[in-house]
């Protein structure tokens, strides 16, 4: 594979292949930022990959009290899935189990337009007849009495079918320490981009997968071509100076947001140089036939 160079870091002349997804957004507020964040973290737990979690979810940004709907600190959460039906199911379950239950929280729509997904209009039944509907400035809210006080939830939120899931970067370092430094630096830069989430733990995947397996019934298995303990074998894609590889997966509300996140992530990681950060950066694809979004790394360098 031909390679480009950036700050002494080898950049593969390849592309990340990503897929169209449906997505929604909500804003969670609470009396303190700590509890808004707790609800968001709980709600987005076990939401790393649609393969087994039903959705991919993460924190997009913090919402300052001055900009939140009820004047309290908030967090904006994004959820991505493969169909509106699945997205609705995940949204309902996660808000019901993780936000409704969390001290002090309230929940609002985080995206306008598209097909409307139910928030409070299904959770209201938890109120067992004591729920109260309120329409303020044309927006319907549900007030549900709970043991702590009252849970306030907007009736519905919007969605988009323009979302993209599966943008990615592969960051290869000489050691686990330098590869992780590269990944952490990239994550820090990418999380500044609005409208994207990095759904894996801390934004980083240490066990990237390939499609299929030699075992029946497994739809994904370890990406052995990028496993450093197998790098001496003929099918390995790794060079001798690569000791560890991390992947960053990016989901975005728009293709532009994914492009921007990949660009700032790649540049931030490469800025560390090959000694402190990555020796090589690549991206994962399936030959370009499965996903309709392709992000060429050389275009990210432009």
């Amino acid at each position: 594979m031909s390679q480009l160079m950036l700050n002494g870091v080898r950049i593969d002349d390849t592309f990340a292949e990503a897929f169209g997804m449906v997505a929604t957004a909500i804003i969670i507020t609470a009396p303190t930022a700590r509890w808004a964040e707790q609800a968001a973290v709980t709600m987005t737990g076990f939401a790393t990959s649609v393969i087994a979690c039903g959705c991919e979810a993460g924190i997009d940004s913090t919402v300052p009290a001055t900009e939140s709907p009820d004047g309290r600190p908030g967090i904006k959460v994004l959820l991505f899935s493969i169909s509106l039906g699945e997205l609705q199911k995940q949204l309902q379950n996660r808000i019901g189990q993780c936000v409704l239950t969390c001290p002090g929280t309230a929940c609002y729509a985080g995206i306008a337009g598209g097909s409307m997904l139910k928030l409070g209009s299904t959770l209201r039944y938890f109120g067992d007849g004591w729920q109260i509907s309120k329409r303020i400035a044309g927006t319907r809210y549900w007030r549900i009495p709970v043991m702590e006080g009252e849970f306030l939830c907007e009736a519905s939120t919007g969605s988009t079918t323009d979302a993209v899931g599966g943008g990615n970067l592969l960051l290869m370092g000489q050691t686990r320490r330098t590869a992780l430094a590269a990944a952490e630096t990239a994550v820090k830069a990418m999380t500044q981009v609005a409208g994207v989430i990095l759904p894996f733990p801390g934004g980083i995947v240490r066990s990237g997968s390939k499609v299929g397996s030699r075992y029946q019934g497994l739809i994904a298995s370890t990406n052995d071509a990028y496993c450093p303990t197998l790098k001496g074998l003929p099918h390995s894609a790794l060079d001798q100076d690569v000791g560890s590889v991390f992947e960053i997966v990016i989901d975005g509300l728009t293709s532009e947001a994914v492009h921007q996140a990949m660009q700032v992530g790649l540049r931030a990681a490469a800025a560390l140089g090959p000694e402190a950060g990555p020796v090589r950066i690549s991206a994962g694809n399936y030959g370009g036939k499965l996903g309709r979004f392709h992000y060429q790394l050389k275009e990210l360098l432009a």
């Binding site: 507020t29 009396p31 709907p69 009820d70 004047g71 309290r72 309230a106 007849g129 004591w130 109260i132 509907s133 309120k134 329409r135 303020i136 400035a137 809210y141 007030r143 006080g149 009252e150 306030l152």
Partner: protein, 268 residues
């Protein structure tokens, strides 16, 4: 294009039904046709020309220069556009309003916004009895929209209200929100006796308390409600002065337990 302006020639000697003078009904009429429109009174009809001088042309924006407590049914059933009245209006202003904005720089008679379903009424002065309410025999009052009253409201404000919001900045009379079905009634000034009498659902916010509360309301204690913050910020957007009302816990009274009992009075 300038607003279509109706200037009052002289104080009317009779009550006037001004329901024909709305943006919806004047949209396609020429000035001459407007001058020839009949206005019902309690005796024989008058023509617009008998009562008003008419100037300008854009019927989407109507101005009444000068008002009267005999101006009834202003903006009746209008669905869009605006009506501004520089003076008082009589009974049933904004009755069956569906959209648009009626702004009155003066006082209004009884049944302001009666059975309105949408749109907005802004009143700088005082309103008569039964703001948003139903006429005799009608089962429900206002079913949507917003009424902002800068002054006082008479008795039974928000009577049998079903949806929407009424905000009264000054004092309100007895039986505010009587028979409320749902909706939000914000009474920032001192309120008379028995607010929420026989209310089923809905919210009444009392900024300065009431002369008496019905014993059929259950005291549920003070609460910090996210909903109150949301309502408070909406009122700030509407340029309503609420002071510190929504910044501290509100005492919740559930009731009226003599009716369905799923309504509430929130006391600041």
């Amino acid at each position: 294009m300038s607003a279509l302006t109706f200037s009052l020639k002289a104080a009317p000697a009779r009550r006037l039904d001004l329901s024909p003078l709305t943006p919806d009904r004047l949209r396609d009429l020429k000035q001459k046709e407007i001058l020839g429109l009949a206005l019902e009174t309690e005796a024989e009809p008058l023509l617009v020309d008998d009562v008003f001088e008419v100037k300008g042309g854009d019927a989407a924006e109507i101005r009444f220069e000068g008002g009267s407590a005999r101006f009834d049914l202003i903006g009746h059933a209008m669905s869009s556009g605006s009506i501004q009245v520089f003076g008082d209006v009589g009974y049933l202003a904004g009755r069956h309003l569906r959209g648009g904005h009626i702004a009155v720089n003066g006082d209004a008679g009884a049944l302001l916004g009666s059975q309105m379903a949408g749109g907005r009424i802004t009143l700088s002065g005082n309103a008569g009895a039964s703001v948003g309410g139903p006429l005799s025999g009608e089962l429900s009052g206002m079913s949507g929209g917003l009424i902002l009253i800068g002054g006082k409201a008479g008795e039974r404000a928000g009577e049998r209200m079903r949806r929407g919001m009424i905000v009264v900045s000054g004092p309100s009379g007895d039986y505010a929100g009587t028979g409320m079905i749902a909706g939000t009634l914000v009474l920032l000034g001192k309120t008379g006796h028995l607010p929420g009498y026989l209310m089923r659902r809905g919210t009444i916010v009392l900024g300065r308390g009431a002369q008496s509360l019905s014993p059929s309301f259950a005291d549920c204690g003070p609460h910090e409600l996210a909903f109150a913050a949301l309502l408070g910020s909406r009122l700030v957007e509407l340029e309503v002065k609420t002071g510190k009302l929504f910044k501290s816990p509100l005492r919740r009274y559930a009731g009226d337990l003599a009716a369905l009992g799923k309504g509430e009075i929130l006391l600041g």
